[in-house]
């Protein structure tokens, strides 16, 4: 299984993490995972993922940030 790709958006200004995620989604192979670390709940990203055919799960980390795992549906 390939290493997941990681976008650490915690030090980035919105919508930079979204811009990077959209760029990565286009090249995400089936079974490959994109992991995002964010300070906020990325509702606009979820809407993009729903529309574009990706599945995701989000976990709240101990430090209060969100970890979002994304794969092609």
């Amino acid at each position: 299984m390939p290493e997941p790709r990681l976008i650490d958006g915690r030090g980035m200004e919105p919508p930079e993490p979204l811009e990077l995620a959209v760029a990565e989604l286009g090249t995400l192979a089936p079974g490959e995972e994109l992991v995002m670390l964010l300070n906020c709940e990325p509702l606009p990203l979820y809407a993009i993922l729903d529309r574009s055919g990706y599945r995701y799960r989000s976990e709240r980390r101990a430090d209060g940030s969100n970890e979002v795992h994304i794969q092609k549906a």
Partner: protein
């Protein structure tokens, strides 16, 4: 509490953009009026020119930009359903524009009929806007201090508008309400609610979300997020007691203003402190605009204290103009300009992303308005602010100050038009790509 944004509720992009693209034009007109009238406009806060410029800035620049932002912000942050945003914008936007033109012209020409027309258009436009906004904010399931503070701000606008319409009606009919209230009492309360209860309250409510999110600072301390708006609201209520038939004791009125100024100063210091602890060292234009605005707010509070301590200085006819320049171009226009440079690229990106999907990704957010153009306009804005303050001290500088302020507003307009044109170009490209893929055989 984690900040969240939901763009599924966002109104069409044309709703906020019509407000954003109109607002700076009237700042430019205000600057030209100052340049044209020269030192006469700066004789006192009661000169026709000063009153016309003030209302062009507070209504046509600030109110336009704030109404446009609020229609967007409430839908996105509070997840609130705005009743028919397209219709509301189509009614409110032209009426506010017309109302402010009537009002400014009424002050300049001292025409009673124009005061009446202004009162009527504002009552209609803002009556609709306030009703729609109050319903949306009261019905939203969202919680959090930003929502509570936005409700207070909308209430502040309601009080400002009611008093403003009474004042314009009074000036229009030459019917003196002086048997009930003196004109000065009405103006005192109108100005306090307009600047403190509406404009500053809105900046405070928005800052709780946008400063940590976009400037990557720590969150505002919870105690401060409660103390500042609640304290400010209490101060405004106490200040309004002068409307009671018995009036309020003059002695404690300056104590009430002192409390308000200390709260405003506390908010400014807290924001500057949070900015100093941001996670990213880079300072973009929005960040610098906010910093400038908070320094102007501190300057405003300090100037007021100085004027209280030195009555011979505070009693000067131009002292209120000094405070007005710090408050309007200094605090509020700086925040608005900084926010417009953040909001328009962000909205461009999100709306284009929604239309183009991952197949045709939008340009990078930083390409929406060239950084150099924003930075240069920002420098001109702060230079114009310094010139305006200097012109209060030496009115002979009214001409360069007015021209510099006008040029800064026009440059802002140019930069915003560039963003809107880029949006339109890319939207057309997405539509053309969709049309050609639909036309080509599978």
């Amino acid at each position: 509490m984690q900040p969240t944004l939901s763009f599924e509720q966002a109104p069409p992009i044309s709703v906020p953009y019509r407000f954003f693209l109109t607002a700076p034009l009237f700042g430019a007109v205000a600057g030209l009026i100052l340049a044209w009238l020269g030192p006469a406009a700066l004789e006192s806060r009661w000169s026709p020119g000063a009153l016309a410029m003030t209302h062009l800035i507070v209504v046509d620049f600030m109110l336009q930009a704030m109404c446009g932002s609020l229609l967007q912000f409430v839908a996105v942050v509070a997840g609130a359903n705005i009743w028919r945003p397209r219709l509301v914008a189509a009614v409110v936007h032209p009426l506010i524009t017309a109302g402010a033109v009537f009002l400014a012209t009424a002050f300049l020409l001292e025409q009673q009929l124009l005061f009446l027309l202004a009162a009527l258009t504002f009552a209609t436009a803002l009556g609709l806007f306030l009703t729609v906004m109050a319903i949306a904010l009261l019905r939203t399931p969202a919680r959090g201090m930003s929502i509570y503070v936005l409700r207070l701000a909308v209430f502040g606008l309601l009080v400002t508008v009611v008093l403003g319409v009474i004042l314009a009606g009074t000036l229009g009919m030459q019917e003196s309400l002086q048997s009930v209230w003196s004109l000065l009492t009405l103006i005192n309360v109108h100005v306090a609610w307009g600047l403190g209860g509406w404009a500053l309250m809105l900046v405070i409510g928005v800052s709780y979300l946008v400063v940590p999110m976009f400037q990557l600072t720590p969150a505002y301390p919870v105690w401060l997020t409660r103390l500042v708006p609640a304290g400010l609201f209490l101060v405004l209520c106490l200040w309004s007691l002068q409307l009671l038939p018995t009036g309020a004791a003059q002695a404690w009125q300056s104590g009430v203003v002192l409390a308000g100024m200390l709260l405003a100063g506390l908010f400014a210091v807290a924001t500057l402190w949070l900015q100093s602890r941001r996670r990213r060292r880079q300072a973009d234009v929005t960040f610098v605009f906010w910093r400038g605005a908070m320094l102007a707010l501190l300057g405003l509070a300090a100037s007021w204290l100085l004027f209280e301590a030195l009555p011979q200085l505070g009693g000067h006819a131009r002292a209120p103009l000094w405070l007005g320049v710090l408050a309007l171009p200094g605090v509020f226009l700086s925040v608005i300009m900084g926010m417009l440079y953040k909001i328009m690229p962000f909205l461009n990106w999100l709306h284009l992303q929604r239309q183009g999907g991952t197949a045709l990704p939008p340009p990078n957010m930083k390409q929406m308005i060239p950084e150099r153009a924003m930075r240069a306009q920002m420098r001109l804005h702060f230079a114009a602010l310094v010139l305006l303050l200097a012109a209060v001290l030496w009115p002979a500088l009214a001409l360069p100050a007015g021209l510099a302020f006008s040029a800064s507003c026009l440059w802002l307009e140019w930069n915003l038009i560039g963003a809107a044109r880029l949006y339109a170009r890319f939207r057309d490209r997405i539509r053309a790509a969709a049309a050609s893929s639909a036309a080509s055989p599978a």
